[in-house]
């Protein structure tokens, strides 16, 4: 027997009396990263089989049993549902005549003790962080994901007796891209057009502060070096696709929460960042736009051709970052971002809200970096991946007497993203003090045990650690768990509340269910 309990069925008196002001509550966020990997003697045509083995090789504690019931990748925020999603024709050739098995076998989902999800997504091992309220927490969980991937890679190497190299990047330099997606929980009070208008300008401009950098181009006009690793792959301003015909603004409406109340903004246009502060900034700038939208304070920009603007900025070697507007006027990435910062300066309520501290820090640091960027200060290379990577390449060229025509530069670009700390070029920079504000490794390891914020990821983590044998399945939204009468109870974990600390003391499933609904 299955019954369903929602945390809204039994709200406490306290929660009944509180009506949070839109825009002042913390925004729940997560990052999902599809990693690239290479195994000697194996190719892209083998990648689904290899990714399945990769994920299954993870030998640390985990739970198997993902609930796919609430997944809806074809639903569109604009109010319709696609019949099918586009696929890459090259990948379709790889898959011709192959049957990899049932969905759950292919995906091989593992839910980790910290509430994260680790699985095979389209031939890439993917780590989806636990949901976080704070930017600093999210950046730590994103780094913890690298540890999970390294552990799985080590086990796989042992099994197959071949080296496995893992890359946290977004391209193979031959036209194939894979994503690092951000997720933001937004009240459904706001529709597609409002969110699009608020967020799209930031998605285009933020690359100057958050891009991962790329040697060369894979589509469109040639480039020596780009700011964004993903810009070549966007062909439309907005649509629901992710595998092919990718948009800057993704309209997938798959909220992983009560769809009557929530939208999950699914951002696919960002790069995989190696520098933790770059990860925080990437997410923070979108959070800032969402807070301002909800407070009715968002700057209004109408960009003439969003795809062109994104790609022009990515290729701009002049640091001017011009953006043409629909009004036949123009602006640039500096002014555009500053308009959001200036609105934040005027929002006293937002300054005083739970997110106020991290947003103040975000705005202050971003302003400093924009100033450094426009003035050519070397300081920005310690905080922004595309500049750190470019400086790394320039160091090599100076040492070896070569220039941007050196064909080995793309290999160095790739190896910047190698997650092995003994081989990866990003880690060499970090060890040399060329990256600032690197979090201690023990903080990342600690996030693999349990989230530090008492949100729904924490509640999920508690259930996984205390009652692993009682859990039937898990997803972002729910946990199905057997009570003492062996009834399966599906618990809905509300995404907008702090769960009681006493959950840690739950000695049985009944306690857990009771307290999780308090």
């Amino acid at each position: 027997m299955t019954s369903q309990i929602s945390s809204d069925d039994n709200p406490s008196e306290e929660s009944k009396s509180e009506t949070p002001i839109l825009g002042l509550s913390p925004i729940l966020c997560g990052i999902e990263t599809e990693y690239g990997f290479s195994i000697e003697g194996r190719g892209a045509e083998d990648q689904i089989d290899d990714a399945i083995q990769f994920v299954r090789s993870y030998a640390q504690p985990h739970f198997s049993g993902w609930n796919y019931a609430y997944e809806s990748p074809r639903a569109d925020l604009r109010g319709f549902k696609l019949d099918t999603l586009a696929t890459d024709p090259v990948d379709a050739e790889f898959d011709a005549g192959k049957n990899h098995g049932q969905v759950h076998d292919i995906r091989s989902d593992k839910v980790l003790p910290n509430g994260a999800r680790f699985y095979n997504d389209h031939g890439h091992p993917e780590y989806a962080t636990p949901e976080c309220w704070q930017l600093a927490e999210l950046a730590l969980h994103d780094k913890a994901g690298e540890i999970v991937l390294r552990r799985a890679a080590f086990e796989l190497e042992t099994q197959i007796e071949k080296p496995v190299t893992v890359y946290k990047n977004n391209t193979d330099f031959h036209g194939a891209s894979y994503g690092t997606h951000e997720n933001y929980l937004v009240p459904r009070n706001f529709g597609f057009q409002q969110i699009y208008d608020a967020v799209l300008p930031v998605l285009i401009a933020r690359q100057v502060l958050t891009g991962a950098g790329k040697v060369g181009s894979e589509k469109g006009p040639g480039a020596i070096y780009q700011i964004s690793a993903r810009s070549d792959f966007f062909v439309e301003a907005a649509n629901a696709e992710t595998l092919f015909r990718r948009p800057i603004f993704n309209t997938r409406d798959e909220c992983h929460a009560d769809p009557q109340k929530w939208i999950r903004l699914h951002v696919i246009s960002g790069d995989a960042n190696m520098i933790p502060s770059c990860t925080s900034r990437k997410v923070g700038l979108v959070k800032l736009a969402l807070h301002l939208l909800m407070l009715g304070r968002c700057p209004k920009w109408k960009i003439e051709n969003p795809v062109q603007a994104f790609q022009d900025i990515s290729r701009d070697e002049s640091n001017k970052y011009r953006i043409n507007l629909s009004s036949q006027n123009w602006t640039n990435a500096y002014e555009l971002l500053e308009s959001y910062f200036a609105e934040f300066d005027q929002c006293d309520d937002l300054h005083d809200s739970p997110a106020g501290g991290e947003l103040c820090q975000l705005v202050s640091e971003s302003r400093t970096l924009l100033k450094d960027l426009s003035g050519g200060s070397p300081n920005a290379a310690k905080h922004i991946d595309w500049l750190a990577k470019r400086k790394m390449l320039e160091t090599y060229m100076e040492d070896s007497g070569t220039d941007w025509n050196d064909p080995s530069l793309q290999a160095f670009d790739l190896e910047y993203h190698n997650i092995d700390p003994d081989a990866g070029l990003h880690f060499a920079l970090a060890q040399m003090g060329e990256i600032e504000n690197y979090p201690p490794q023990d903080q990342c390891l600690d996030r693999l045990i349990q989230p530090h914020e008492r949100n729904r990821a924490w509640a999920r983590s508690i259930a996984l650690s205390k009652f692993p044998d009682k859990i039937e399945n898990v997803c972002w939204r729910t946990i199905s768990i057997r009570n003492s009468q062996e009834e399966v109870v599906q618990i809905e974990l509300a995404p907008d509340r702090e769960y009681p600390l006493q959950l840690e003391d739950a000695s049985n499933v009944e306690n857990y269910i009771q307290w999780v609904n308090q």
């Binding site: 739970f63 540890i147 891209s177 190896e415 700390p421 003994d422 070029l425 040399m432």
Partner: protein, 61 residues
């Protein structure tokens, strides 16, 4: 249910694993230049210059 790899629990850990896990990322930026020279350039000289040419992936999301 939570699954453990029984084989992993009983066999001795590979000597390299602990190092890889524990050393997986700097504990904090080491502001000193390595005595043996520029660590970045040392690593760059070990990179296969054709690594990116050989690297092929499926499209993900």
């Amino acid at each position: 249910m939570i699954q453990f790899d029984d084989d992993r629990l009983t066999r001795p850990s590979a000597p390299d694993l602990d190092r890889k896990v524990q050393d997986s990322g700097p504990s904090r930026p080491d502001v000193r230049k390595p005595d043996s020279g520029n660590e970045l350039l040392k690593r760059m000289k070990k990179v296969d210059p054709n690594q990116a040419k050989k690297y092929r992936q499926r499209s993900g999301q």
